[in-house]
């Protein structure tokens, strides 16, 4: 996708909606580094040595209508990854010792994350790990995963 879309452009292209109090006319920034959207974080793949895509990982194209990355247990609002056809692929076949990786995206064009409450954010071409958030005590084996 182009790198100078507004939130209004983005919702129109993807068909995904955001809450109406969010500012739609401003251009959505495109970031090539570390960024967070609520309980998700996008980390350049090169920065996380411990995370590896599995050999023979199944990659699937990210459609303009989006891939739902995470939705909270009681329904909640989803984080969706959207991109132009052919502009981004996504795999969940990932090894992450922290257990927090949802998957890895590999974008040749600009990809976007959309969430109804958090709005949109752009991801510059590149390869990134998307992780979710946890809370709890380090000693606890049953750490709570966050889904807002």
């Amino acid at each position: 996708m182009p790198h100078n879309l507004t939130l209004a452009d983005l919702t129109e292209r993807s068909g995904l909606d955001v809450l109406d109090h969010l500012e739609r006319a401003v251009t959505v920034p495109v970031i090539d580094g570390l960024q967070a959207q609520g309980d998700l974080i996008v980390v350049p793949y090169a920065l996380l040595d411990a995370v590896q895509t599995a050999p023979g990982a199944r990659w699937r194209p990210v459609p303009v209508s989006g891939v739902e990355l995470l939705r909270s247990a009681s329904g909640g609002n989803p984080h969706s990854l959207v991109a132009d056809p052919g502009g981004c692929r996504w795999t969940t076949d990932v090894r992450d010792p922290s257990g927090l990786a949802l998957g890895v995206l590999d974008a040749t064009g600009t990809a976007y994350l959309i969430h109804p409450e958090h709005g949109g954010t752009g991801i510059a071409p590149g390869t990134y790990v998307i992780r979710r958030q946890r809370e709890g005590a380090a000693e606890s084996r049953r750490r709570r995963l966050i889904a807002d």
């Binding site: 809450l19 109090h21 969010l22 920034p29 970031i31 580094g33 570390l34 960024q35 967070a36 959207q37 609520g38 974080i41 980390v43 920065l47 699937r60 209508s65 989006g66 891939v67 739902e68 009681s74 329904g75 909640g76 609002n77 989803p78 969940t92 992450d96 922290s98 257990g99 927090l100 994350l113 969430h115 109804p116 409450e117 958090h118 709005g119 949109g120 954010t121 992780r131 979710r132 958030q133 946890r134 809370e135 709890g136 005590a137 380090a138 000693e139 606890s140 709570r144 966050i146 807002d148």
Partner: protein, 415 residues
Amino acid sequence: MNGRNGPSDPIIDLLALRRAVQARDEWLDHGLSTAPADRATAEHAISGLYRLLNREPPRFTWVDSPGAMLAPDPPVAPVVPGPWLRDALALDPDPDTAPPVAAQLATLVSSLRRTLDRRIDQRFKLWASRFSARDSAAARLQPPEAALRDGVNGVLLLKTTVDESLHGSLHDAVRAPLRRAFAQQGGGPSDLAWFGQHDAHWVARYDVVDRLGLLPISGAERYQLDLWCALARSCGWWWPGEDVCVISERPTALHYEPVPNDAHGGVRLHRDHGPAVVFADGWCVHALHGTHVPAWVVSVPTVERITAERNVEVRRTAIERIGWDAYIDRAGLRLAAEAPDPGNPGFSLRLYDSPSEEWGTPTRVLLAVNGSVERDGRRRKYGLTVPASFDDPVAAAGWSYGLTGTLYARLARRT
């Protein structure tokens, strides 16, 4: 032919899917109904089930709520496993020891459900198959008609939009919290009760496939299914005894909201002020955005109660009622450290000591500010528990994503 529905499965076309969605919504309405019970229909249906067991129809006692069965002397004694269970499991049961009617009914209905499930599996080869996460996601994400046009398998859509949707809305969102409340108040397992309108999700599975003309069903099977359908349309929970059957009225009020962004009409309990489900005698259940909570969370969420609460979901819901800021202030949590929030200019991360003796393992609370504004223009603050070993708020925030503090400090943007 090898269509999208596989080599032998019946085709679920747009028209069939529309009829299925309509039937789903009818069953959802029955499951959420707050109308007075249709007593004649309910008694007639239960009498029919007793006759299928070669028993005389019972006398009926009506109560206002399931809570009435929690009284010290409930109208029907709870069924406890006795010699009948041993006999039922034995190869040659003692014919003189008849199992309780509740146990016989359980056998009757599980046999019907097993038979019909097997028949659906045979009729739709794809019903029983495991779909990939990708197909399942494609079915879940879009409204059923759009998904069908998009090439998503019709049988998968039927399962998703009828079975899964009603299971989520009625079994998980309504029946489960009511059963939990019943058990917590001393009702013990309500396994030998039936749920009337809250059985609608499983009744609907067979009824909808049959309404589409796709379920080979015998007259006797349809007769029994109709009795269960009639109960789901007419009354609340019921307890079958040997001579007396207790039936509960439906609730007088039930507050719910659509599950956000659910393409399949799912609902969840929610009421901001007061109980979400109320019966005529006052028996009730509280829920906030689908989370079943004790009454105090809705009415008076005090710091003392929050601190004493062991359930992390309940605690979080209660804290969010008063706001993390207010909670930390009123609970007098000590600020251990504060640092600018990377990627969230103008805001800071704060690390507080938590009341660890009450919350078990030593932890601290990291208070952060959302990267996006709420409807009222303010930014929501939220707390996360983190290991007590952290002294640096940035390192604690990094840990929550499995990152070092140094790496997290490079966060360019937060939305």
